[in-house]
Subunit: 142 residues, 10 copies
């Protein structure tokens, strides 16, 4: 553990976050997400919820302000406007913790998978709630 | 995740437990334990407490009945008879979950480190309580 | 070996099953299947029949309910409607063991090979019966 | 699979047997043996019994005739003269299959572990009978 | 060396043959063939002729009966109907040793190279005769 | 870069600091120190002074309070009581930044090398001042 | 450190520069650049500014004279003619240090990313100024 | 060093030449050639001229007689008919040393780079003369 | 293959011989020798006899003249003065081919194994004659 | 190649020299030296003499002034006071090029080998003169 750094950020997760640059994206995935086969490095965080990981990541990672959609979740299939509980929770955490305000945008399910495949890394959490996945785009530190 | 298997058991942890044989030992280490430098493979479980990991491991791993001390914790320095809260918690979990009853035995601090160095693997948890470490010896499945 | 886990599930197979997510597929291949050259990781299970491996895998892995065909076998060449003995056996095991009922669907031989090439892993069994191959799609654990 | 070669001999096991020379030893271990931590390469054969693997290995590997004890098993603790069922079975198989007759010799338990640690490889079987372990020393092919 | 197995089959070659499945192909290449740059794994057999290796491989590997051309050689440039001495020798060995009769078919030179590039492995022999190359397709063991 | 984390802490350095546990030690080495041959992993920080790296490390890493000497420098050869400028600087930084007060202790030159050889990692800085090396022992985060 | 060689040139950076040939390009990237995900090897230089690294590299690496644009920077988005402070600084350093005079040319932002993806290596500096990135093409040493 | 083998042929170079087959090509590159980024394995020979390496390689490697152009150099840009000194030197060495006479053919500069990218290996010499590069195609040993 | 180099010298064997220096030793081992477990790199030459390999190696490798025993064979157990056929053959080849005359010296069996364990490499031949092993010490090329 | 850096210093050699610290040693070995089996990394420089490499290394590497013997050669066996031509040449080069004057000291032959085994790296040159080996100890850059 380190001083002033959320201990949920494991050595590998901290390494990935520090190595990411402007525009790189990280996926926080729920426990059912196919994180090992999607392509990017998969960092295990089985003991944490997606919300805990989101809070920890946003405590150190800036959100991108160059794009309108630095935070992306998966739309409910057939109900693109619905807001699952996990997503509502994510928005609350962003509002509380993020360096820059951001309105979560929804991606159609398969578009979400395609986007995840180009990410810098995937954090596989133990999140059990449905639709508990979010993609974050790293911003700039001036 | 898998059916009937505690999801705290990550792919690497499950692999280690399944590959261990009779007499092999695993260390459940707290968040301050030097798990990366002790020698055995270090499996991260930053988001779980030692108690949660102990409960999950004992749900699948038999405790050895060939030795009198299949569960070892670190003695409080200067108070070898003291029972830290974490250790009391461990005993309760063993009593509830283990396939074989076992009385936790204490090891002097440096003897504990030496024993950990010969283990099959170390699980580094996010346990914050002091003395939140335990070594388990795997038993036989008849 | 582990408590409550079928010992046919070797360390590598258990690791793969645990790491798979929703929608990932695993191939149970017979002894003549070209498992090493198809692409995915090939896990050896030479001493087990495909039926034994199927029963062991279904004891821990949920079948996908989001698609109509979570279990796929290879059609007999020239007789797409025929049901080889191994396939009949597979259907019985699914009916007995799977968490969700599923009707096995047949794939034309080369379509089966192409599908296997995109799987998460291939388990190469010692199955000697013809057409003793099956692809399973992992489901969600709620 | 190959013609005239027992299919229990997997690619890795066949490679090891072919690479071994005069005096090299292989361990056939039961399902509880700590095969991954003993030192030599561990080849998984979870779906086969020790007897099946013994029969398959002896069908291709000569037993050493330069030493009086080319086949070693573990003595029952406290009863060094007892003959466990698995060991009796091993002797029968050697008598039937081996190129050279050999009388199994017993090693004290910890001497057996030490000997296994210097072997060429360990085959971890799914053998469930107690004391289902045997060390074989490879002989010469003239 | 092993009992009843041709000692020309080295550990790596035996491993490849055992790992191959139905439809996988292996190239026996002469000493001038560009075996290291063609793509598949290249197994050295510098001290053996192609005929010796062919005889050894066919003693354990079944030829495919599902295709009309399980054995392919390179046509003499400009004389596609000519039968080089090495090829005549190959046909004799197949007639004597193979589990299934097969008539060698010729491939145009560059088609042969392209076919070799998709093989499971290439065995680079010390064969000095011209056109001393052959591709074999593995069959099924019932 | 990350929010609230000194950017001198590169991905590899941050990973090492986070993976270190209670009692692990890290060496901050000057530009002439033989960091690549001493044994531990060597993390390059050629563009930073030892003082800058010390300040960055102490901003996240606790100093051990279980020992009287959690910060060690190399004694001037022949003048064990002398305080080189770099060491004086190190003491000032510790006084300002460390979570726990600590009085730097001197080690004889070769004892320092031996101690460095057992460290978790070595950070090779661009420090040009003589005796610009320091060993820090990580403490506990309660 | 070495005589007559700028110590900012770390072992890995010196190796890359020496291994580069005529026409190979190196990227000096600022602290926010996504250096780890762009493709080429990423060499960390977190403690140095882009200007320091540029000066060090040009002290040993010739600039290409076969092309009109051996030094490329990123154009300010929306103001392609603007000259950011960092870029002005880069031009001054080239004028002072480079073996061949060169006028920096601007590349549109995404063209710059694409060009960086084909570079020999990326040096990730601690540069905090905006637009602190430059691509250099290596020239010939006669 | 070995008897009767030019000592300029280092272990790696000798290995590559011996592993090459009929039609494989090797590039002898001058000191400015981008040998590390072109694609094939790059074997360093910094202390030798291209002429020395050419002489050493031709002492053991046959030139291909199946093609009209087994030796290719780069045409002078803008003067495709010019013969640089290095190329004239190469022709003299081929005339003296090669097993088969061959007239060097010129390739346009970028065609030369493309051809080099498909070679078996590149030998990076210390050749300082301009256009000191040559591609050789290996022939057959009857 | 290469001009003027015995084609029994495979790429790996040629690499080893070229990399060896004064005093390094190579073992030519018969088909029963435990070449994979003795320690040094094991180079397969299954299709060649020890005599063929000896002749090929001596055609390029000088024998050491600084010691009285640059060629060592294994003494017949119980008959240290006996000269097995293979050894007599080795002496003839040395007399014919070696750059320096050398009288083969015998080593007691286990001394031979110990010596082999310190060799540069082991060549595992297909030699079937008993005692078909020899250790050669490389000499100097002036 | 690089500006102002002797091109005999290859990428790997330059990397080693830059990574070495105060007190690390490098061996310049002649063509017969057993550089691959001595232990340290072996960097090939087959096309250069030991004198050329010595001159190149001393142009960038400081000699240690903390010890009386920063340059060591091998004594002529039986004539410890003799000065071989190569050693005389080395002394001249040190006198001309080294940053600090140093008198070469002789080491008995086997003491030289033992010292070489603890070096940072060995540069294997093409030096043909006897006793063409030298060990250099790196000094400090103030």
């Amino acid at each position: 553990m380190l001083r002033n750094i959320n201990p949920i950020l494991s050595p590998d997760l901290l390494h990935a976050l520090r190595a990411m640059g402007h525009g790189d994206e990280i996926v926080i995935a729920d426990a059912n997400f196919p994180g090992s086969s999607t392509g990017p490095d998969c960092i295990r965080a089985d003991g944490s919820s997606a919300s805990e990981v989101l809070r920890a990541i946003l405590s150190v990672m800036p959100l991108d302000t160059f794009v309108p959609d630095p935070a992306l979740t998966m739309q409910v299939v057939g109900e693109p406007e619905a807001i699952p509980e996990a997503v509502a929770d994510f928005q609350t955490i962003i509002d509380e913790v993020a360096d820059n305000g951001a309105q979560i945008q929804g991606l159609e399910r398969f578009a979400f998978y395609d986007r995840a495949a180009t990410a810098f890394a995937i954090v596989q959490t133990g999140e059990r709630r449905l639709y508990g996945n979010i993609i974050l785009k790293k911003g700039v530190i001036a």
